[in-house]
Protein backbone atom coordinates (compact mmCIF):
# COMPACT_ATOMS: atom_id res chain seq x y z
CA UNK A 1 0.00 0.00 0.00
CA UNK A 2 2.78 2.34 0.93
CA UNK A 3 4.30 1.87 -2.51
CA UNK A 4 1.12 2.93 -4.30
CA UNK A 5 0.78 6.21 -2.43
CA UNK A 6 4.37 6.98 -3.10
CA UNK A 7 3.77 6.40 -6.80
CA UNK A 8 0.64 8.57 -6.83
CA UNK A 9 2.58 11.31 -5.10
CA UNK A 10 5.40 11.08 -7.62
CA UNK A 11 3.01 11.24 -10.58
CA UNK A 12 1.06 14.21 -9.15
CA UNK A 13 4.29 15.98 -8.47
CA UNK A 14 5.48 15.56 -12.04
CA UNK A 15 2.10 16.69 -13.42
CA UNK A 16 2.23 19.79 -11.26
CA UNK A 17 5.76 20.47 -12.45
CA UNK A 18 5.34 19.91 -16.16
CA UNK A 19 1.66 20.35 -17.07
CA UNK A 20 1.93 24.14 -17.54
CA UNK A 21 4.96 23.66 -19.77
CA UNK A 22 3.14 21.07 -21.86
CA UNK A 23 0.29 23.55 -22.35
CA UNK A 24 2.74 25.91 -23.98
CA UNK A 25 3.35 23.96 -27.20
CA UNK A 26 -0.25 22.73 -27.13
CA UNK A 27 -1.68 26.22 -27.57
CA UNK A 28 1.22 27.38 -29.71
CA UNK A 29 -0.02 24.96 -32.37
CA UNK A 30 -3.75 25.65 -31.72
CA UNK A 31 -5.66 27.45 -34.41
CA UNK A 32 -7.32 30.10 -32.21
CA UNK A 33 -6.38 33.38 -30.51
CA UNK A 34 -8.28 32.32 -27.42
CA UNK A 35 -6.35 30.23 -24.96
CA UNK A 36 -9.00 27.70 -23.91
CA UNK A 37 -10.08 24.13 -24.42
CA UNK A 38 -11.35 22.54 -26.55
CA UNK A 39 -8.57 22.87 -29.13
CA UNK A 40 -9.86 24.06 -32.47
CA UNK A 41 -7.27 22.84 -34.96
CA UNK A 42 -3.60 22.53 -35.86
CA UNK A 43 -1.65 25.47 -37.26
CA UNK A 44 1.93 26.63 -37.59
CA UNK A 45 0.76 30.19 -38.30
CA UNK A 46 1.93 31.54 -34.95
CA UNK A 47 5.47 30.44 -35.71
CA UNK A 48 5.27 32.06 -39.17
CA UNK A 49 4.01 35.22 -37.49
CA UNK A 50 7.07 35.18 -35.25
CA UNK A 51 9.39 35.68 -38.18
CA UNK A 52 7.63 38.89 -39.17
CA UNK A 53 8.00 40.94 -35.96
CA UNK A 54 11.04 43.22 -36.27
CA UNK A 55 11.05 44.45 -32.67
CA UNK A 56 11.19 40.87 -31.53
CA UNK A 57 14.14 40.15 -33.78
CA UNK A 58 16.01 43.03 -32.16
CA UNK A 59 15.15 41.61 -28.76
CA UNK A 60 16.38 38.15 -29.79
CA UNK A 61 19.68 39.55 -31.05
CA UNK A 62 20.07 41.62 -27.91
CA UNK A 63 19.39 38.58 -25.73
CA UNK A 64 21.83 36.43 -27.68
CA UNK A 65 24.56 39.05 -27.36
CA UNK A 66 23.95 39.37 -23.62
CA UNK A 67 23.79 35.61 -23.09
CA UNK A 68 26.99 34.88 -25.02
CA UNK A 69 28.94 37.65 -23.32
CA UNK A 70 27.63 36.59 -19.93
CA UNK A 71 28.58 32.97 -20.60
CA UNK A 72 32.14 33.95 -21.50
CA UNK A 73 32.70 36.26 -18.53
CA UNK A 74 30.98 34.09 -15.93
CA UNK A 75 33.01 31.08 -17.09
CA UNK A 76 36.30 32.99 -17.05
CA UNK A 77 35.59 34.11 -13.48
CA UNK A 78 34.49 30.57 -12.64
CA UNK A 79 37.75 29.07 -13.93
CA UNK A 80 39.79 31.45 -11.78
CA UNK A 81 37.72 30.82 -8.66
CA UNK A 82 37.55 27.04 -9.09
CA UNK A 83 41.28 26.75 -9.71
CA UNK A 84 42.14 28.98 -6.76
CA UNK A 85 39.79 27.02 -4.54
CA UNK A 86 41.21 23.63 -5.49
CA UNK A 87 44.84 24.50 -5.93
CA UNK A 88 45.65 26.74 -3.00
CA UNK A 89 44.94 27.01 0.70
CA UNK A 90 44.47 30.57 1.92
CA UNK A 91 43.02 32.20 5.02
CA UNK A 92 39.28 32.75 4.91
CA UNK A 93 38.93 30.35 1.98
CA UNK A 94 35.63 28.82 3.04
CA UNK A 95 34.14 32.18 3.89
CA UNK A 96 35.20 33.69 0.59
CA UNK A 97 33.85 30.75 -1.40
CA UNK A 98 30.59 31.01 0.52
CA UNK A 99 30.28 34.69 -0.32
CA UNK A 100 31.00 34.01 -3.98
CA UNK A 101 28.29 31.34 -4.08
CA UNK A 102 25.74 33.51 -2.26
CA UNK A 103 24.02 35.03 -5.34
CA UNK A 104 22.72 31.51 -5.97
CA UNK A 105 20.19 31.98 -3.17
CA UNK A 106 19.91 35.79 -3.10
CA UNK A 107 16.49 37.01 -4.28
CA UNK A 108 17.04 38.28 -7.80
CA UNK A 109 14.85 41.27 -7.27
CA UNK A 110 17.14 42.46 -4.48
CA UNK A 111 20.17 42.03 -6.72
CA UNK A 112 18.36 43.87 -9.52
CA UNK A 113 17.23 46.82 -7.40
CA UNK A 114 20.61 47.22 -5.69
CA UNK A 115 22.44 47.11 -9.00
CA UNK A 116 20.01 49.63 -10.46
CA UNK A 117 20.57 52.05 -7.58
CA UNK A 118 24.34 51.66 -7.66
CA UNK A 119 24.63 52.04 -11.42
CA UNK A 120 22.43 55.11 -11.51
CA UNK A 121 24.27 56.67 -8.57
CA UNK A 122 27.57 56.09 -10.36
CA UNK A 123 26.11 57.78 -13.41
CA UNK A 124 26.13 54.78 -15.77
CA UNK A 125 23.45 54.57 -18.40
CA UNK A 126 21.39 51.40 -18.60
CA UNK A 127 21.67 49.04 -21.53
CA UNK A 128 23.03 45.66 -22.55
CA UNK A 129 26.18 46.07 -20.48
CA UNK A 130 24.31 46.68 -17.25
CA UNK A 131 22.25 43.53 -17.90
CA UNK A 132 25.44 41.59 -18.61
CA UNK A 133 26.86 42.82 -15.31
CA UNK A 134 23.81 41.52 -13.43
CA UNK A 135 23.77 38.25 -15.32
CA UNK A 136 27.46 37.59 -14.73
CA UNK A 137 26.75 38.10 -11.04
CA UNK A 138 24.06 35.43 -10.91
CA UNK A 139 25.70 33.03 -13.41
CA UNK A 140 29.16 32.94 -11.84
CA UNK A 141 28.08 30.77 -8.87
CA UNK A 142 26.68 28.17 -11.28
CA UNK A 143 29.86 28.31 -13.28
CA UNK A 144 31.97 27.87 -10.13
CA UNK A 145 29.86 24.94 -8.97
CA UNK A 146 30.34 23.14 -12.29
CA UNK A 147 34.03 23.98 -12.69
CA UNK A 148 34.76 23.18 -9.06
CA UNK A 149 33.78 19.60 -9.69
CA UNK A 150 35.86 19.58 -12.88
CA UNK A 151 38.95 20.87 -11.08
CA UNK A 152 38.34 18.68 -8.04
CA UNK A 153 38.47 15.58 -10.18
CA UNK A 154 41.86 16.58 -11.51
CA UNK A 155 44.97 14.89 -10.11
CA UNK A 156 47.36 17.61 -8.96
CA UNK A 157 50.31 15.53 -10.04
CA UNK A 158 49.26 15.89 -13.69
CA UNK A 159 50.39 19.49 -13.95
CA UNK A 160 53.50 18.76 -11.93
CA UNK A 161 54.30 15.87 -14.24
CA UNK A 162 54.10 18.20 -17.23
CA UNK A 163 56.36 20.73 -15.49
CA UNK A 164 58.72 17.91 -14.59
CA UNK A 165 58.88 17.00 -18.27
CA UNK A 166 60.03 20.49 -19.19
CA UNK A 167 56.88 22.58 -19.62
CA UNK A 168 56.44 25.95 -17.93
CA UNK A 169 53.63 26.27 -15.37
CA UNK A 170 51.54 28.16 -17.93
CA UNK A 171 52.08 25.75 -20.80
CA UNK A 172 51.36 22.77 -18.55
CA UNK A 173 48.07 24.43 -17.60
CA UNK A 174 47.29 24.92 -21.26
CA UNK A 175 48.37 21.45 -22.41
CA UNK A 176 47.08 19.35 -19.53
CA UNK A 177 44.60 21.10 -17.26
CA UNK A 178 42.67 23.03 -19.88
CA UNK A 179 41.84 20.06 -22.13
CA UNK A 180 40.83 18.03 -19.09
CA UNK A 181 38.46 20.67 -17.71
CA UNK A 182 37.24 21.70 -21.18
CA UNK A 183 34.02 19.70 -20.88
CA UNK A 184 33.34 21.56 -17.63
CA UNK A 185 34.04 24.87 -19.34
CA UNK A 186 31.63 24.08 -22.17
CA UNK A 187 29.04 22.91 -19.68
CA UNK A 188 29.47 26.10 -17.66
CA UNK A 189 29.11 28.29 -20.78
CA UNK A 190 25.96 26.48 -21.87
CA UNK A 191 24.32 26.77 -18.47
CA UNK A 192 25.29 30.44 -18.07
CA UNK A 193 23.98 31.10 -21.57
CA UNK A 194 20.68 29.42 -20.77
CA UNK A 195 20.23 31.21 -17.46
CA UNK A 196 21.00 34.58 -19.03
CA UNK A 197 18.72 33.95 -21.99
CA UNK A 198 15.73 33.13 -19.76
CA UNK A 199 16.37 35.65 -17.02
CA UNK A 200 13.69 38.29 -16.57
CA UNK A 201 13.88 40.27 -13.31
CA UNK A 202 17.39 41.66 -13.61
CA UNK A 203 16.92 42.30 -17.32
CA UNK A 204 13.63 44.07 -16.63
CA UNK A 205 15.30 46.49 -14.22
CA UNK A 206 18.56 47.07 -16.02
CA UNK A 207 17.76 46.78 -19.70
CA UNK A 208 16.90 50.46 -20.38
CA UNK A 209 15.25 50.83 -23.77
CA UNK A 210 16.79 47.79 -25.45
CA UNK A 211 14.56 44.99 -24.15
CA UNK A 212 15.83 41.43 -23.93
CA UNK A 213 13.62 38.64 -25.19
CA UNK A 214 11.92 37.82 -21.87
CA UNK A 215 11.27 41.54 -21.24
CA UNK A 216 9.86 41.91 -24.74
CA UNK A 217 7.66 38.86 -24.18
CA UNK A 218 6.33 40.28 -20.97
CA UNK A 219 5.46 43.54 -22.71
CA UNK A 220 3.54 41.63 -25.41
CA UNK A 221 1.30 40.00 -22.81
CA UNK A 222 -0.73 43.23 -22.73
CA UNK A 223 -2.13 42.38 -26.15
CA UNK A 224 -4.37 39.29 -25.82
CA UNK A 225 -4.51 38.70 -29.55
CA UNK A 226 -0.74 38.25 -29.58
CA UNK A 227 -0.77 35.61 -26.87
CA UNK A 228 -0.47 32.58 -29.20
CA UNK A 229 2.63 34.18 -30.80
CA UNK A 230 4.12 34.59 -27.35
CA UNK A 231 3.35 30.95 -26.63
CA UNK A 232 5.05 29.94 -29.85
CA UNK A 233 8.11 31.91 -28.87
CA UNK A 234 7.96 30.37 -25.39
CA UNK A 235 7.85 26.91 -26.95
CA UNK A 236 11.03 27.64 -28.88
CA UNK A 237 12.72 28.97 -25.75
CA UNK A 238 11.81 25.90 -23.70
CA UNK A 239 13.03 23.60 -26.45
CA UNK A 240 16.30 25.52 -26.74
CA UNK A 241 16.82 25.48 -22.96
CA UNK A 242 16.27 21.75 -22.74
CA UNK A 243 18.66 21.09 -25.60
CA UNK A 244 21.34 23.35 -24.11
CA UNK A 245 21.05 21.89 -20.61
CA UNK A 246 21.22 18.37 -21.99
CA UNK A 247 24.37 19.28 -23.88
CA UNK A 248 25.80 20.88 -20.75
CA UNK A 249 25.20 17.76 -18.68
CA UNK A 250 26.59 15.58 -21.44
CA UNK A 251 29.84 17.56 -21.43
CA UNK A 252 30.02 17.62 -17.65
CA UNK A 253 29.71 13.84 -17.46
CA UNK A 254 32.21 13.36 -20.22
CA UNK A 255 34.64 15.54 -18.30
CA UNK A 256 34.21 13.44 -15.19
CA UNK A 257 34.75 10.28 -17.20
CA UNK A 258 37.79 11.76 -18.92
CA UNK A 259 39.45 12.55 -15.63
CA UNK A 260 38.76 8.93 -14.74
CA UNK A 261 36.80 9.75 -11.62
CA UNK A 262 33.41 8.76 -10.25
CA UNK A 263 30.49 11.14 -10.65
CA UNK A 264 29.78 13.55 -7.80
CA UNK A 265 26.86 15.93 -8.20
CA UNK A 266 25.96 18.12 -11.13
CA UNK A 267 22.69 19.82 -11.95
CA UNK A 268 20.90 17.12 -13.88
Amino acid sequence: MKGIWLRVYAVLYLVFLYAPIILLPLFAFNDSTIIAFPLTGFTTNWFVELTKIEAMHAAVLNSLFIAITTAVFATLLGICAARANNRYRFPGQRGIMGMVMLPLVLPEIIVAVSLLVVLLQLGFSLGSWSVILGHVLICTPFSIAILNSAFQNLDRSLEEAAIDLGETPFSSFRLITLPLVMPGIISSMLISFTISLDEFIIAFFLTGNEPTLPVYLWAQLRFPQKLPVVLALGTLLVALSIILLTCAEFFRRRGVARAGKSDTGGFL
Binding site: D155, S157, L158, E160, A161, A162, I163, D164, L165, G166, E167, T168, I176, P179, L180, R258, A259, G260
Partner: protein, 363 residues
Amino acid sequence: MTQPIIDLRDVQKFYGDYHALRGITATIGQGEFFSLLGPSGCGKTTLLRTIAGFEDLSSGTVLIGGQDMARVPANQRPTNMVFQSYAIFPHLSVAQNVGFGLRRAGLDKATLAARVEEALEMVGLSGYGKRSAHALSGGQRQRVALARALILKPKVLLLDEPLSALDKKLREQMQVELIRLQRLVGITFILVTHDQEEALVMSDRIAVMFDGQIAQLDDPETLYRRPKTHRVADFIGMMNFLPARILSEDGERATLEISGLGRTEFDLGTCPTATAGPDGTAVGLRPETLTLLFDGQTATGRQVIGTVEEVVYYGDMTYYDIRLPDGDQVVRVSMRNLFGRPVLEIGAPARLSWDPGALVLFR
Protein backbone atom coordinates in the same frame (compact mmCIF):
# COMPACT_ATOMS: atom_id res chain seq x y z
CA MET B 1 80.28 5.16 -3.47
CA THR B 2 80.94 6.35 -6.98
CA GLN B 3 81.27 9.98 -8.04
CA PRO B 4 78.61 12.09 -6.33
CA ILE B 5 75.65 13.30 -8.40
CA ILE B 6 73.48 14.81 -5.69
CA ASP B 7 74.76 16.71 -2.72
CA LEU B 8 72.31 17.73 0.01
CA ARG B 9 73.71 20.18 2.52
CA ASP B 10 71.77 20.96 5.67
CA VAL B 11 68.44 21.02 3.84
CA GLN B 12 65.69 22.56 5.96
CA LYS B 13 62.01 22.91 5.17
CA PHE B 14 59.32 24.64 7.17
CA TYR B 15 55.60 24.64 6.45
CA GLY B 16 54.58 27.51 8.68
CA ASP B 17 55.57 26.27 12.13
CA TYR B 18 55.92 22.67 11.03
CA HIS B 19 59.54 21.64 10.63
CA ALA B 20 59.32 19.04 7.85
CA LEU B 21 63.01 18.64 7.06
CA ARG B 22 65.47 19.18 9.89
CA GLY B 23 68.85 19.53 8.32
CA ILE B 24 69.30 16.76 5.79
CA THR B 25 72.89 16.22 4.71
CA ALA B 26 73.68 13.38 2.33
CA THR B 27 75.57 12.59 -0.84
CA ILE B 28 74.11 10.33 -3.50
CA GLY B 29 76.40 8.70 -6.01
CA GLN B 30 76.32 8.45 -9.78
CA GLY B 31 74.38 5.36 -10.85
CA GLU B 32 73.32 4.52 -7.33
CA PHE B 33 69.96 3.00 -6.38
CA PHE B 34 69.18 5.10 -3.35
CA SER B 35 66.12 4.77 -1.12
CA LEU B 36 64.46 7.18 1.27
CA LEU B 37 62.72 4.94 3.76
CA GLY B 38 60.51 5.95 6.65
CA PRO B 39 57.01 5.96 8.08
CA SER B 40 54.45 8.37 6.61
CA GLY B 41 55.06 11.95 7.63
CA CYS B 42 58.81 11.49 8.10
CA GLY B 43 59.61 13.97 5.30
CA LYS B 44 60.83 11.51 2.67
CA THR B 45 58.41 12.69 -0.02
CA THR B 46 59.10 16.32 0.85
CA LEU B 47 62.81 15.65 0.40
CA LEU B 48 62.19 14.02 -2.98
CA ARG B 49 60.03 16.95 -4.10
CA THR B 50 62.75 19.31 -2.92
CA ILE B 51 65.23 17.57 -5.20
CA ALA B 52 62.71 17.67 -8.07
CA GLY B 53 62.17 21.40 -7.49
CA PHE B 54 58.50 21.26 -6.50
CA GLU B 55 59.24 22.54 -3.01
CA ASP B 56 61.39 25.54 -2.14
CA LEU B 57 64.04 25.13 0.52
CA SER B 58 63.75 27.09 3.72
CA SER B 59 67.54 26.91 3.98
CA GLY B 60 70.39 24.70 2.87
CA THR B 61 71.66 23.68 -0.54
CA VAL B 62 70.78 21.08 -3.15
CA LEU B 63 73.50 20.40 -5.70
CA ILE B 64 72.88 18.21 -8.74
CA GLY B 65 75.95 17.38 -10.80
CA GLY B 66 77.83 20.04 -8.85
CA GLN B 67 75.38 22.79 -9.79
CA ASP B 68 73.41 24.69 -7.16
CA MET B 69 69.69 24.16 -7.83
CA ALA B 70 68.50 27.17 -5.83
CA ARG B 71 67.54 29.20 -8.91
CA VAL B 72 66.77 26.31 -11.23
CA PRO B 73 63.00 25.70 -11.60
CA ALA B 74 61.58 22.18 -11.72
CA ASN B 75 61.19 22.18 -15.49
CA GLN B 76 64.88 22.85 -16.05
CA ARG B 77 66.34 20.36 -13.58
CA PRO B 78 68.10 17.25 -14.86
CA THR B 79 65.69 15.10 -12.89
CA ASN B 80 62.50 13.32 -13.87
CA MET B 81 59.90 11.87 -11.62
CA VAL B 82 57.56 8.90 -11.46
CA PHE B 83 54.60 10.06 -9.41
CA GLN B 84 52.77 7.95 -6.87
CA SER B 85 49.55 8.27 -8.89
CA TYR B 86 51.66 7.85 -12.08
CA ALA B 87 50.03 11.08 -13.37
CA ILE B 88 49.44 9.58 -16.80
CA PHE B 89 47.79 12.27 -18.94
CA PRO B 90 44.37 10.71 -19.44
CA HIS B 91 43.48 12.59 -22.63
CA LEU B 92 46.60 11.50 -24.50
CA SER B 93 47.63 8.19 -26.03
CA VAL B 94 50.43 6.09 -24.60
CA ALA B 95 52.83 7.37 -27.27
CA GLN B 96 51.83 10.98 -26.65
CA ASN B 97 52.37 10.47 -22.94
CA VAL B 98 55.79 8.94 -23.40
CA GLY B 99 56.85 11.52 -25.99
CA PHE B 100 55.51 14.48 -23.99
CA GLY B 101 58.91 15.56 -22.71
CA LEU B 102 60.33 15.64 -26.24
CA ARG B 103 57.70 18.12 -27.44
CA ARG B 104 60.18 20.96 -27.16
CA ALA B 105 63.13 19.08 -28.60
CA GLY B 106 62.01 19.87 -32.16
CA LEU B 107 62.44 16.33 -33.45
CA ASP B 108 60.93 15.24 -36.75
CA LYS B 109 58.07 12.77 -36.61
CA ALA B 110 60.08 9.69 -37.49
CA THR B 111 62.80 10.35 -34.90
CA LEU B 112 60.22 11.10 -32.24
CA ALA B 113 58.32 7.90 -33.00
CA ALA B 114 61.56 5.92 -32.87
CA ARG B 115 62.55 7.40 -29.51
CA VAL B 116 59.10 6.70 -28.10
CA GLU B 117 59.14 3.12 -29.34
CA GLU B 118 62.62 2.65 -27.91
CA ALA B 119 61.46 3.89 -24.51
CA LEU B 120 58.37 1.67 -24.61
CA GLU B 121 60.49 -1.32 -25.52
CA MET B 122 62.75 -0.63 -22.55
CA VAL B 123 59.81 -1.03 -20.17
CA GLY B 124 58.36 -4.00 -22.04
CA LEU B 125 55.46 -2.18 -23.71
CA SER B 126 56.51 -2.13 -27.36
CA GLY B 127 53.54 -1.77 -29.66
CA TYR B 128 51.37 -0.12 -27.01
CA GLY B 129 51.88 3.40 -28.36
CA LYS B 130 48.49 3.82 -30.02
CA ARG B 131 46.47 2.74 -27.00
CA SER B 132 44.63 5.29 -24.97
CA ALA B 133 45.91 5.92 -21.49
CA HIS B 134 42.47 4.89 -20.19
CA ALA B 135 42.81 1.30 -21.28
CA LEU B 136 45.90 0.55 -19.21
CA SER B 137 46.18 -1.63 -16.12
CA GLY B 138 47.98 -0.43 -12.98
CA GLY B 139 51.20 -2.17 -13.89
CA GLN B 140 51.10 -0.79 -17.43
CA ARG B 141 50.52 2.74 -16.19
CA GLN B 142 53.56 2.33 -14.01
CA ARG B 143 55.61 1.30 -17.04
CA VAL B 144 54.33 4.20 -19.13
CA ALA B 145 55.26 6.59 -16.32
CA LEU B 146 58.76 5.08 -16.25
CA ALA B 147 59.17 5.33 -20.02
CA ARG B 148 57.92 8.91 -19.99
CA ALA B 149 60.41 9.90 -17.31
CA LEU B 150 63.37 8.02 -18.81
CA ILE B 151 62.94 9.24 -22.38
CA LEU B 152 64.53 12.57 -21.42
CA LYS B 153 67.66 10.73 -20.21
CA PRO B 154 67.72 12.51 -16.84
CA LYS B 155 70.73 12.40 -14.55
CA VAL B 156 68.47 11.29 -11.72
CA LEU B 157 65.17 9.44 -11.74
CA LEU B 158 62.94 10.18 -8.76
CA LEU B 159 60.35 7.57 -7.79
CA ASP B 160 57.65 8.50 -5.30
CA GLU B 161 56.23 5.28 -3.82
CA PRO B 162 55.89 3.87 -7.32
CA LEU B 163 54.84 0.38 -6.30
CA SER B 164 52.43 1.13 -3.46
CA ALA B 165 49.34 0.95 -5.68
CA LEU B 166 50.16 -2.50 -7.06
CA ASP B 167 49.17 -5.85 -5.60
CA LYS B 168 51.82 -7.97 -3.90
CA LYS B 169 52.73 -10.23 -6.79
CA LEU B 170 52.95 -7.43 -9.33
CA ARG B 171 54.89 -5.35 -6.84
CA GLU B 172 57.54 -8.03 -6.40
CA GLN B 173 57.77 -8.44 -10.16
CA MET B 174 58.16 -4.69 -10.67
CA GLN B 175 60.87 -4.53 -8.00
CA VAL B 176 63.00 -6.90 -10.01
CA GLU B 177 62.22 -5.01 -13.20
CA LEU B 178 63.16 -1.68 -11.68
CA ILE B 179 66.52 -3.09 -10.60
CA ARG B 180 67.07 -4.45 -14.11
CA LEU B 181 66.05 -1.13 -15.64
CA GLN B 182 68.36 0.82 -13.39
CA ARG B 183 71.31 -1.37 -14.37
CA LEU B 184 70.34 -0.97 -18.01
CA VAL B 185 70.17 2.84 -18.08
CA GLY B 186 72.85 3.30 -15.45
CA ILE B 187 71.43 6.49 -13.98
CA THR B 188 70.80 7.32 -10.35
CA PHE B 189 67.43 6.18 -8.99
CA ILE B 190 66.05 7.73 -5.83
CA LEU B 191 63.14 5.76 -4.45
CA VAL B 192 60.76 6.92 -1.75
CA THR B 193 59.09 4.08 0.10
CA HIS B 194 57.59 3.18 3.45
CA ASP B 195 58.08 -0.51 2.74
CA GLN B 196 61.33 -1.62 4.39
CA GLU B 197 61.34 -4.91 2.54
CA GLU B 198 61.11 -3.10 -0.79
CA ALA B 199 63.97 -0.81 0.21
CA LEU B 200 66.14 -3.74 1.31
CA VAL B 201 65.50 -5.65 -1.91
CA MET B 202 66.16 -2.81 -4.31
CA SER B 203 68.65 -0.37 -2.87
CA ASP B 204 72.38 0.07 -2.93
CA ARG B 205 72.01 2.37 0.04
CA ILE B 206 69.09 3.38 2.21
CA ALA B 207 68.49 6.54 4.22
CA VAL B 208 66.10 5.74 7.07
CA MET B 209 64.20 8.89 8.00
CA PHE B 210 62.25 9.76 11.13
CA ASP B 211 60.76 13.17 11.94
CA GLY B 212 62.48 15.05 9.13
CA GLN B 213 65.94 13.68 9.89
CA ILE B 214 68.09 10.87 8.55
CA ALA B 215 68.44 8.36 11.36
CA GLN B 216 70.83 6.09 9.51
CA LEU B 217 72.31 5.96 6.02
CA ASP B 218 73.84 2.64 5.08
CA ASP B 219 73.75 -0.28 2.69
CA PRO B 220 70.90 -2.76 3.33
CA GLU B 221 73.05 -5.36 5.05
CA THR B 222 74.63 -2.94 7.49
CA LEU B 223 71.25 -1.41 8.17
CA TYR B 224 69.78 -4.80 8.96
CA ARG B 225 72.75 -6.23 10.83
CA ARG B 226 74.06 -3.13 12.56
CA PRO B 227 71.24 -0.70 13.20
CA LYS B 228 72.43 2.44 14.93
CA THR B 229 69.35 3.07 17.05
CA HIS B 230 66.53 1.14 18.68
CA ARG B 231 64.05 2.86 16.37
CA VAL B 232 65.87 1.90 13.19
CA ALA B 233 66.18 -1.70 14.40
CA ASP B 234 62.47 -1.77 15.14
CA PHE B 235 61.58 -0.30 11.72
CA ILE B 236 63.81 -2.51 9.59
CA GLY B 237 62.66 -6.12 9.60
CA MET B 238 61.50 -7.89 12.74
CA MET B 239 63.49 -7.67 15.93
CA ASN B 240 62.96 -9.26 19.35
CA PHE B 241 63.86 -6.81 22.08
CA LEU B 242 64.71 -8.22 25.52
CA PRO B 243 65.48 -5.97 28.49
CA ALA B 244 69.05 -6.42 29.71
CA ARG B 245 71.41 -5.22 32.43
CA ILE B 246 75.14 -4.72 32.04
CA LEU B 247 76.65 -6.47 35.03
CA SER B 248 80.24 -5.66 34.31
CA GLU B 249 82.25 -4.12 31.54
CA ASP B 250 85.90 -4.67 30.89
CA GLY B 251 87.30 -3.05 27.77
CA GLU B 252 86.16 -5.21 24.87
CA ARG B 253 83.98 -7.56 26.90
CA ALA B 254 80.81 -7.04 28.87
CA THR B 255 78.70 -9.40 30.96
CA LEU B 256 74.97 -9.04 30.41
CA GLU B 257 71.97 -10.29 32.33
CA ILE B 258 69.26 -10.75 29.67
CA SER B 259 65.68 -11.12 30.75
CA GLY B 260 64.52 -14.62 29.79
CA LEU B 261 67.85 -15.79 28.41
CA GLY B 262 70.08 -15.38 31.45
CA ARG B 263 73.67 -14.30 31.78
CA THR B 264 76.01 -14.02 28.81
CA GLU B 265 79.25 -12.54 27.62
CA PHE B 266 79.09 -9.85 24.96
CA ASP B 267 81.97 -8.86 22.69
CA LEU B 268 81.87 -5.06 22.44
CA GLY B 269 84.53 -5.10 19.76
CA THR B 270 82.80 -7.23 17.16
CA CYS B 271 79.10 -7.33 18.06
CA PRO B 272 76.95 -4.36 17.06
CA THR B 273 75.93 -1.82 19.65
CA ALA B 274 73.28 0.85 19.13
CA THR B 275 71.53 3.67 20.95
CA ALA B 276 68.84 2.45 23.35
CA GLY B 277 65.16 3.29 22.99
CA PRO B 278 62.98 4.88 25.67
CA ASP B 279 62.81 1.59 27.59
CA GLY B 280 66.53 1.57 28.37
CA THR B 281 69.19 -1.05 27.83
CA ALA B 282 68.10 -4.07 25.83
CA VAL B 283 69.39 -6.68 23.45
CA GLY B 284 67.94 -7.38 20.04
CA LEU B 285 67.67 -10.75 18.31
CA ARG B 286 66.40 -11.27 14.77
CA PRO B 287 63.87 -14.15 14.49
CA GLU B 288 66.07 -16.01 12.00
CA THR B 289 69.04 -16.08 14.43
CA LEU B 290 66.93 -18.13 16.85
CA THR B 291 66.42 -21.83 16.20
CA LEU B 292 63.93 -24.32 17.57
CA LEU B 293 65.49 -27.73 18.17
CA PHE B 294 63.55 -30.78 17.07
CA ASP B 295 64.05 -34.37 18.20
CA GLY B 296 67.62 -35.47 18.12
CA GLN B 297 69.10 -32.03 17.32
CA THR B 298 71.67 -30.51 19.60
CA ALA B 299 72.16 -26.82 20.28
CA THR B 300 74.91 -25.01 18.40
CA GLY B 301 74.73 -22.05 20.77
CA ARG B 302 73.04 -21.55 24.11
CA GLN B 303 69.80 -23.34 24.88
CA VAL B 304 66.64 -22.50 26.86
CA ILE B 305 63.31 -24.34 27.18
CA GLY B 306 60.20 -22.27 26.50
CA THR B 307 56.57 -22.81 25.55
CA VAL B 308 54.94 -22.32 22.16
CA GLU B 309 52.42 -19.49 22.54
CA GLU B 310 51.44 -18.75 18.95
CA VAL B 311 52.00 -20.40 15.60
CA VAL B 312 51.75 -18.48 12.32
CA TYR B 313 52.08 -20.73 9.30
CA TYR B 314 53.31 -19.16 6.03
CA GLY B 315 53.86 -22.20 3.83
CA ASP B 316 57.61 -21.94 3.40
CA MET B 317 58.09 -20.58 6.92
CA THR B 318 56.46 -20.89 10.30
CA TYR B 319 56.64 -18.11 12.84
CA TYR B 320 56.52 -19.21 16.47
CA ASP B 321 56.02 -16.97 19.47
CA ILE B 322 57.94 -18.65 22.29
CA ARG B 323 57.44 -17.70 25.94
CA LEU B 324 60.83 -17.78 27.66
CA PRO B 325 61.39 -19.69 30.96
CA ASP B 326 61.02 -16.77 33.36
CA GLY B 327 57.54 -16.12 31.95
CA ASP B 328 57.78 -12.40 31.17
CA GLN B 329 59.32 -12.40 27.73
CA VAL B 330 58.04 -13.70 24.41
CA VAL B 331 60.30 -13.97 21.37
CA ARG B 332 59.40 -14.61 17.78
CA VAL B 333 61.29 -17.35 15.97
CA SER B 334 61.15 -18.00 12.25
CA MET B 335 61.73 -21.56 11.10
CA ARG B 336 61.91 -22.87 7.57
CA ASN B 337 59.47 -25.70 7.03
CA LEU B 338 61.93 -28.31 5.86
CA PHE B 339 60.50 -31.56 4.51
CA GLY B 340 59.45 -33.92 7.28
CA ARG B 341 59.72 -31.29 9.98
CA PRO B 342 56.56 -31.09 12.12
CA VAL B 343 54.80 -27.84 12.94
CA LEU B 344 54.69 -27.48 16.72
CA GLU B 345 51.37 -26.92 18.45
CA ILE B 346 50.40 -24.17 20.87
CA GLY B 347 51.35 -25.10 24.42
CA ALA B 348 54.07 -27.54 23.42
CA PRO B 349 57.47 -27.19 25.05
CA ALA B 350 60.10 -25.76 22.74
CA ARG B 351 63.86 -26.05 22.91
CA LEU B 352 65.26 -22.72 21.77
CA SER B 353 68.85 -22.33 20.65
CA TRP B 354 70.40 -18.87 20.42
CA ASP B 355 73.82 -17.45 19.65
CA PRO B 356 75.32 -14.63 21.77
CA GLY B 357 77.25 -13.55 18.66
CA ALA B 358 74.00 -12.58 16.92
CA LEU B 359 72.97 -10.10 19.62
CA VAL B 360 72.66 -6.39 19.07
CA LEU B 361 73.16 -4.37 22.24
CA PHE B 362 71.04 -1.25 22.72
CA ARG B 363 72.50 0.95 25.44
